[in-house]
């Protein structure tokens, strides 16, 4: 027997079993694509940060010191601490307020005030730690020059700052003016801006001490606990109170990964489900194809094929479509990954994101190995059979099975095609089990996806407070004010406005008190107002944190806003605050602890009474009543916006429009809402669910096609006895409908358990715990509908082969007996 004969046998086998070939190809394509996507997301969720961190020798810890309590020599001495592998500094640093002057026609100058910024004096961007990447312009070379940090996670600076623009340091005698000469990027956000070291003294108020900054890399810095231990070593090496703040790279990394990391757990789950389903279906396809081909094996052997050639022929028949499917899956997986990763490729300028080469190699190798193992066992068995044995096995009519099932179902009074169909799976329990698992996983993925989608909707609703806080009014802020509350007017710095000479026209602004009174009067006048509350947003500093914390203070009752509580309770008195999970993580506090913060030089202590689901300022925020601030003497905090819930039945859009007309253009009236990146996540979720349901459906299609082929003679007999095409379809669909129904019933609790397991993991990836209300999304009606998912997958998967079975004429099958 020449080798070409094996090739002809393979071609013949593939041509004879087109359905199986297509199913193998599609299943391998879908599962390869899902696996590539899952692995790529896992690998690249921290990819941009890790690449930039490695390239810049990012700082494990950015430490701030009080120069009154320590000296440069002592700080330099910390390089010798055992755990420190590299250090940079000390660099002088100062926290100051910068304003961008804007020329305003007819109203003089207006200033956009930026939040308090950390400015560090560094002679050069390079160094053993935090080797800053200069993206535009040059590094400051003399006084009056500043380079600003364009790190995408640095939200202290507005976007679109341009070289050559001037900024003014306020609160300092002489209001020194700086020119932006460089745009740079520090992966660990060690500063908002850099100047030459000598410039720091000019930016420091006379009474304020100059701080010092040290940047460290440690031998062990993989966890928050390790970092805390490292920082403690540094603190011990210096006089007490010298270390004022220490920021870990982990918080920056977490913030950077927030966009994609939450996707990773569910994509991994979908990848694993897809892989298991593929294995099940491939085993079913292959064993079915080989067993169904025993007669052909006998014929091949009788004409001289050796066992090895038989094995090779059958293995190749499966591996050829499997390889084709894997290659297709690689292309699809890379395309999908590219779409997703493109959104996360950021501005670190250390290279783009893509599917790593090893993923493109490992996934198809693993998939083909699984297929290879699945095919070799039955192929080897076929190879060992004698020719006569194989011919007999291939021709002998299958002995009936599932007698008891037929008897029991026959008593139910259902139409005969239905009872015959429902009893059929009992004749092939192994195949039924594999099909059941595949459908179960597909239906579980549907249940999980529906729950996850609902949870994500609730996350967005919870974070936006969009059920209650439907309309917001921003107050016009007087000139010179700024910060988070100063956003009442749409001041742009990057391009000229609509005025005839290219400048903004700013009308005269009311005082803060007048603006508040006007807003309250207008809101009260609106008949659609149900609730409203004044909100003041301020930034405060906390000991141990180099970055600012946002305080949202409500004037009056605000519990109707309906923040989702994770633990504890909503503040109900002065001196109480609620904080997000990330605040607790970053500060090491728990509910019941006290926090001390500083605003405009005044210190205030409050008790944490609740953990709230909120992501304002990346979770570094506190929520309280204005009374808490007032009792602490922080009278400077003024409301900057009003949050309004409209009456049931009233249109929020119409309400906002009417209120805007009443208040005039100085006030910003907006309808809240917006889903952020939710459409992308929901699209990905829908896509992956569709892929898995498709795999499950293909598994069913294969099972039914296989069974139709095996029972072609029985089908012909049924037709000869008068079974109509519709009855044939009903019977064939019922071969898997019962299996699908059972799979669906089991899949619901599996899917719900998966949702309850993974949503908190996704939350943890985004730095927050998850309130119970976000997890409990399945109502009785949802469960009832989802329980049918398995049956739907089974029926849809069976319809095509059922149609083929109904259309086939019985004469041919009967003639071959």
């Amino acid at each position: 027997m020449r080798p070409g004969s094996v090739g002809r046998a393979v071609r013949g086998g593939i041509a004879r079993r087109r359905v199986q070939v297509i199913v193998i190809s599609l299943v391998l394509m879908v599962s390869t694509a899902a696996s590539v996507l899952a692995l790529a997301l896992v690998v690249d969720s921290n990819g941009p940060f890790d690449k930039a961190f490695a390239a810049q020798h990012g700082a494990d810890v950015t430490a701030a010191f009080n120069s009154v309590k320590t000296t440069d020599t002592q700080l330099s001495g910390t390089r010798k601490i055992a755990q420190v592998t590299a250090a940079a500094g000390p660099f002088p640093q100062v926290t100051t307020t910068l304003q961008i002057p804007i020329e305003v026609q007819g109203s003089g100058a207006a200033d956009l005030t930026l939040p308090q910024l950390t400015i560090v004096g560094r002679a050069s961007p390079g160094g053993p730690v935090d080797d800053v990447t200069l993206q535009e312009g040059h590094w400051p070379t003399g006084p009056g020059q500043i380079a600003l940090n364009s790190n995408p996670q640095n939200d202290n600076l507005p976007p679109n700052l341009m070289l050559g623009q001037h900024v003014v340091a306020t609160g300092i005698p002489g209001k020194p003016r700086l020119t932006i000469v460089g745009i740079a990027n520090s992966v660990t956000n060690t500063a908002d801006g850099w100047v030459v070291p000598a410039e720091i003294s000019r930016l420091t108020a006379s009474a304020s001490p100059v701080g010092e900054q040290m940047l460290y890399r440690f031998a062990s810095a993989g966890s928050a606990a390790a970092i805390r231990a490292d920082v403690a070593d540094v603190a011990r090496a210096l006089p007490a109170g010298a270390l004022t703040a220490a920021d870990s790279y982990l918080s920056t990394k977490a913030a950077e990964a927030v966009g994609i990391a939450p996707l990773t757990p569910f994509v991994i789950a979908f990848g694993i489900i897809g892989l298991v389903m593929s294995v099940m279906i491939v085993i079913n396809v292959i064993t079915g194809a080989v067993v169904a081909g025993y007669h052909r094996v006998g014929v091949l052997k009788s004409i001289g094929f050796t066992p090895g050639q038989v094995m090779a022929a059958y293995t190749a028949q499966v591996m050829i479509p499997a390889v084709a499917g894997c290659l297709g899956g690689l292309v699809v997986g890379n395309l999908l990954s590219g779409v997703l990763l493109e959104r996360t490729a950021n501005l670190y300028q250390v290279g783009g994101l893509g599917v790593p080469g090893w993923v493109n190699l490992a996934v198809p190798v693993a998939m083909l190995a699984v297929v290879g193992i699945a095919v070799l066992i039955p192929a080897a068995r076929a190879g060992r059979m004698s020719a006569a044995q194989a011919i007999t096995a291939g021709r002998a009519p299958r002995q009936g099975g599932g007698y008891a099932a037929h008897r029991i179902l026959g008593r139910l009074g259902l139409p005969q095609p239905v009872t015959i169909g429902l009893a059929a799976p009992f004749a092939r329990p192994a195949r039924t089990f594999v099909t059941l698992v595949a459908v179960l996983l597909g239906a579980a993925a549907v249940t999980f996806a529906v729950g996850l989608g609902a949870s994500l909707q609730r996350v967005v609703t919870g974070l936006n407070l969009s059920k209650t806080d439907q309309v917001q009014v921003s107050l016009p802020m007087p000139q010179g004010s700024g910060g988070p509350g100063g956003s009442g007017l749409p001041i742009r710095t990057d391009r000229p406005g609509p005025g005839p000479s290219g400048h903004f026209k700013l009308p005269k602004l009311p005082s803060a008190e007048a603006a508040q009174h006007a807003a309250i009067a207008a809101i009260t006048r609106q008949p659609g107002t149900l609730h409203f509350v004044a909100e003041a947003d301020e930034e405060v500093s906390m000991a141990g944190l180099s970055h600012q914390v946002q305080v949202t203070a409500y004037q009056g009752s605000a519990d109707w806003l309906g923040y989702d509580m994770i633990s504890g309770h909503w503040y109900n008195g002065s001196g109480q605050v609620d904080v997000p999970t990330y605040f607790l993580t970053a500060t090491g506090k728990t509910v019941g602890d006290s926090v001390t913060f500083t605003y405009e030089g005044k210190q205030l202590t409050a008790r944490i009474v609740g953990e709230v689901f909120d992501n304002v300022n990346n979770g570094m925020s506190m929520i309280t009543g204005t009374q808490t601030l007032a009792d602490g003497g922080l009278t400077e905090a003024q409301p900057n916006q009003y949050d309004i819930q409209v009456r049931p039945g009233a249109s929020a859009a119409a309400y906002a429009q009417a209120l805007q007309q009443d208040l005039g253009p100085l006030y910003g009236v907006n309808q809240t809402g917006g889903s952020g990146g939710l459409p992308l996540i929901l699209s990905l979720l829908a896509l992956l669910t569709l892929l898995l349901a498709t795999i499950a459906g293909l598994g069913v299609l294969n099972t039914v096609a296989l069974q139709t082929r095996e029972r072609v003679h029985d089908l012909a007999v049924f037709k000869a006895l008068g079974m109509t095409p519709r009855q044939t379809i009903a019977m064939v669909v019922c071969w898997v409908a019962g299996t699908g129904l059972i799979a669906g019933l089991v899949a619901v609790p599996v899917g719900i358990a998966l949702q309850h397991l993974l949503v908190p993991v996704m939350g943890a990836s985004a730095g927050t715990a998850i309130p119970a209300v976000i997890l409990s999304v399945y109502g009785p009606a949802d469960v009832a509908v989802l329980a049918l998912a398995g049956a739907v997958i089974a029926v849809v998967g069976a319809l095509a082969p059922a149609g083929w079975a109904a259309a086939a004429r019985p004469g041919v099958a009967l003639r071959t007996e």
């Binding site: 009936g400 005969q416 006895l721 109509t724 009855q727 004469g811």
Partner: protein, 246 residues
């Protein structure tokens, strides 16, 4: 006598380029008649049977059975027609292994929408008439060949068809059992059942049918008579007619 089967210039080709399986067949069978279709292997006997039963469609020509143009019926209509008007007996019985004897017999009645209780009663009546009532709850695999063919005959009769088609009904049986089945068919015909028997056994044809049609290479080579004589007239000592056909 009324015409039950009318084949007018019927041709069936399975491959456009190949010789037709049957070609230009003209055949008329009267109600109550028993005819044998004979011929060597490959002569087109089974194809002819399939065309009469509506299991296959002719490439050309008209097939009329019990007043219906079978070749023009839709798949659903032909299925309904078949279960109402035609009973089929196969050489290899074609019983369904995972159904009991009684369930096999009931199947065409249940497919036709007959209530389970009525179908069961009718099946019991037939099993008793065919003397296999003791095997009613047995699975086909445990039956002898003769018993299986009796079950198949009961199944074919359950809907009281006007026409019984038998494709080599004794071909898989030993001669003694084949003789029993032959006599059974004879008795059925004597009680009024029209019968088309496909066989390549001239003796069987001669003993149990009143007319034989011989096919050679898909064409009628010989038609023995006008079909008016019933098969029972030809067999000496035939048993009284079975009381299974009202």
């Amino acid at each position: 006598m009324d015409t039950l089967i009318q084949l007018s210039d019927v041709t069936k080709r399975y491959d456009n380029d190949a010789r037709p399986a049957v070609g230009g067949i003209q055949l008329t069978v009267a109600a109550g008649e028993a005819i044998a279709v004979m011929g060597p292997s490959g002569s087109g006997k089974s194809t002819l049977l399939n065309l009469i039963a509506g299991l296959d469609r002719p490439s050309s020509g008209a097939v009329t059975v019990a007043g219906e143009r079978v070749d023009r019926l839709s798949e659903t209509a032909v299925a309904r027609f078949r279960r109402a008007k035609i009973g089929i007996i196969f050489q290899f019985f074609n019983l369904l292994d995972d159904l009991t004897v009684v369930d096999n017999v009931m199947l065409p009645a249940r497919l036709a929408g007959m209530a389970r209780r009525r179908a069961r009663a009718r099946a019991a009546e037939l099993l008793e008439a065919l003397r296999i009532e003791s095997q009613r709850d047995t699975y086909p695999a445990r039956l002898s060949g003769g018993e299986r063919q009796r079950v198949a005959i009961a199944r074919a009769l359950v809907n009281r068809p006007e026409l019984l088609l038998a494709d080599e009904p004794t071909g898989a049986l030993d001669s003694a059992t084949g003789e029993q089945i032959g006599r059974l068919l004879l008795e059925l015909n004597r009680s009024g059942q029209s019968l088309v028997l496909v066989t390549h056994n001239p003796d069987l044809a001669a003993r149990y049918t009143g007319r034989s049609v011989e096919l050679v290479d898909g064409q009628v080579a010989r038609d023995s008579g006008d079909g008016r004589a019933r098969s029972t007239d030809l067999v000496a000592g035939a048993e009284p007619g079975l009381q299974v056909l009202p």
